[in-house]
């Protein structure tokens, strides 16, 4: 990381008038200079109002407890797509793609329960062997003594293989799922994104829906199977979804089912490479892996924020939030809140209470696949430690231009020959 860029950010964070701070500027997420800005908000304005931004006016919550309290109160803070949904940036109304993450009870509850059994404990136990075999093969096939992109060869490959299995999607075409995942969440203003307007995004997701419809039509008339498409096709509250809801639901499951774990695999390796003492601790004691997995998920915070819309006038931290106003819960900041997490700015693989983090969200929208994510991370690290004494990260990670997903596009590494 460029030390001068970081020093400039610290100076700017200290100098910017609070009423002019737009914490959502995606450039600060892409160059990883967002931290001093969040630290100042947590300290001086934990419930902060930004009157003017490319996303309109919005409130920011940056402390752990305020975020937790808001998550629990889903009656006062709605996720519904008609009010704006769950991202700081509203989906254009005509192109809105509802899904259960963008719904309130009761419909949210009904649809979520259709798919959640796929990650029930008994199913996870069945997946473990498959994931382990795949992880081992992926690692064994990595080149030795030459530079390659860890994101592409490991993080994407392992998670997209899992996703293809969850959807029972044709395995050889699994990278289509990666593409649609990137389409669904990318920042259309980023020149390197696969699509460059909301219309283009919608058109590509329509292609995704068409491909999935074929599988749906085969499975809706067959006996129920344990894959997501079959479960949706047979679920009482999901079998008659409108086209936009179908698109939204698939996009949710695709993104939730790979992108977040992908970025935690990449981010975890980066964190270890930056903290060689922790990497040494890990090699000396692989039993720390489960603890480390939670720490990686806190450290990476693959979903930087979730947004809600107030349905009634409410008070948080002495500030009055009016009905209709946009409230952004910055998980990425709450996860660095020193009042809840000691030494929050340090990556400590054997920290106490490592599961105490906001990365999965809390309340009724808590991540459905959290246990599968943890299991994939645990297994990939068990297999790495069993096979590779060393992995050198040789470039700074290339980060995604996004204030929503904390993604790593590319990270060059070398395994000594």
């Amino acid at each position: 990381m460029d030390a001068n860029v970081q020093l400039d950010a610290i100076a700017e964070a200290a100098a910017v008038p609070l009423d002019q701070l737009d914490i959502a500027d995606p450039r600060r997420f892409a160059d990883d200079t967002i931290w001093p800005f969040f630290a100042r908000l947590r300290r001086e304005a934990p419930v902060h109002y930004c009157a003017d931004s490319p996303y309109g006016p919005y409130w920011s919550l940056t402390r752990y407890q305020d975020i937790l309290a808001t998550e629990i109160d889903h009656a006062s803070f709605s996720s519904d797509t008609s009010l704006g949904g769950i991202q700081i940036e509203d989906q254009p109304k005509a192109l809105a793609r509802p899904s259960f993450i963008r719904m309130d009870p009761p419909k949210h509850d009904e649809q979520r329960k259709v798919v959640s059994p796929i990650v029930a404990p008994a199913n996870l136990a069945r997946m473990e062997t498959t994931i382990r075999e795949r992880a081992g093969k992926i690692i064994d096939e990595l080149p030795r003594g030459e530079i390659f992109d860890w994101v592409d060869r490991v993080s994407i490959e392992l998670t997209i293989q899992m996703l293809a299995t969850l959807f029972d999607y044709p395995f050889e075409n699994r990278r289509q799922l990666t593409y649609w995942s990137d389409v669904a969440v990318c920042n259309v203003n980023d020149p390197t994104s696969p699509v460059h307007s909301e219309e283009e995004r919608f058109a590509e997701l329509k292609n995704m829906a068409a491909a999935m419809s074929k599988l749906w039509n085969e499975r809706v008339n067959a006996p129920p199977q344990h894959d997501l498409i079959s479960m949706l096709a047979h679920g009482e509250s999901t079998r008659n979804m409108q086209p936009n809801e179908f698109m939204g639901t698939l996009a949710l499951l695709i993104v939730g089912g790979n992108d977040t774990t992908r970025n935690s695999i990449s981010g975890g390796l980066h964190a270890l490479s930056q903290n060689p003492d922790e990497y040494r601790k890990l090699r000396e004691n692989p039993a720390l892996i489960p603890n480390m997995v939670s720490e990686i998920i806190r450290w990476q915070t693959p979903v930087a924020h979730m947004r809600r819309t107030a349905t009634v006038d409410t008070e948080i931290g002495g500030k009055t939030i009016r009905a209709g106003e946009k409230v952004v819960m910055w998980y990425v900041s709450g996860n660095r809140d020193e009042t809840m997490i000691p030494d929050a700015d340090r990556f400590i693989i054997d920290r106490k209470r490592p599961r105490q983090h906001l990365s999965f969200g809390f309340g009724i929208h808590r991540c459905v696949g959290n246990r599968l994510a943890e299991m994939q991370l645990r297994i990939v690290w068990e297999e790495i430690l069993a096979r590779l004494p060393q992995i050198e990260v040789v470039s700074e990670p290339e980060r995604v231009l996004s204030n929503f997903l904390r993604g790593i596009k590319r990270m060059d590494v070398r395994i000594p020959a």
Binding site: S116, P121, F362
Partner: protein, 106 residues
């Protein structure tokens, strides 16, 4: 001090003495009983402290409120005696309570 017996899914028993005023969840976490994660720290916001209350004790532990019932409905493999242990306060009445753990937490 009331005695509470936590039984892991594999049958391992952990008899513990838990001070009055703590929750059943805290009694497990403070004594490092495995199988109760309590990720949210007792805010009834995650359903990772799910237990099955021994049927004989249901009358004394009470029933879930609306928020608990809502969170419980997203936990894996719930039964009619499912509770979030962070919502059960330890009283002298609960001396002898038995709770069992699910196969996995949410």
């Amino acid at each position: 001090m009331p005695k509470i017996t936590y039984i892991e899914h594999d049958g391992t028993e952990h008899p513990m003495e838990v001070p009055v005023g703590l929750t059943v969840m805290q009694g497990a976490v403070d004594n490092s009983v495995p199988g109760i994660d309590a990720d949210c720290g007792g805010a009834c916001a995650c359903a990772t402290c799910h237990v099955y209350v021994d049927p004989e004790w249901l009358g004394k532990t009470g029933t879930p409120n609306e928020q608990e019932a809502s969170m419980l409905s997203f936990a894996a493999v719930t039964e009619s005696n499912s509770r979030l242990s962070c919502q059960i306060e330890v009283t002298s009445e609960l001396d002898g309570l038995i709770v069992r753990m699910p196969e996995g937490q949410h």
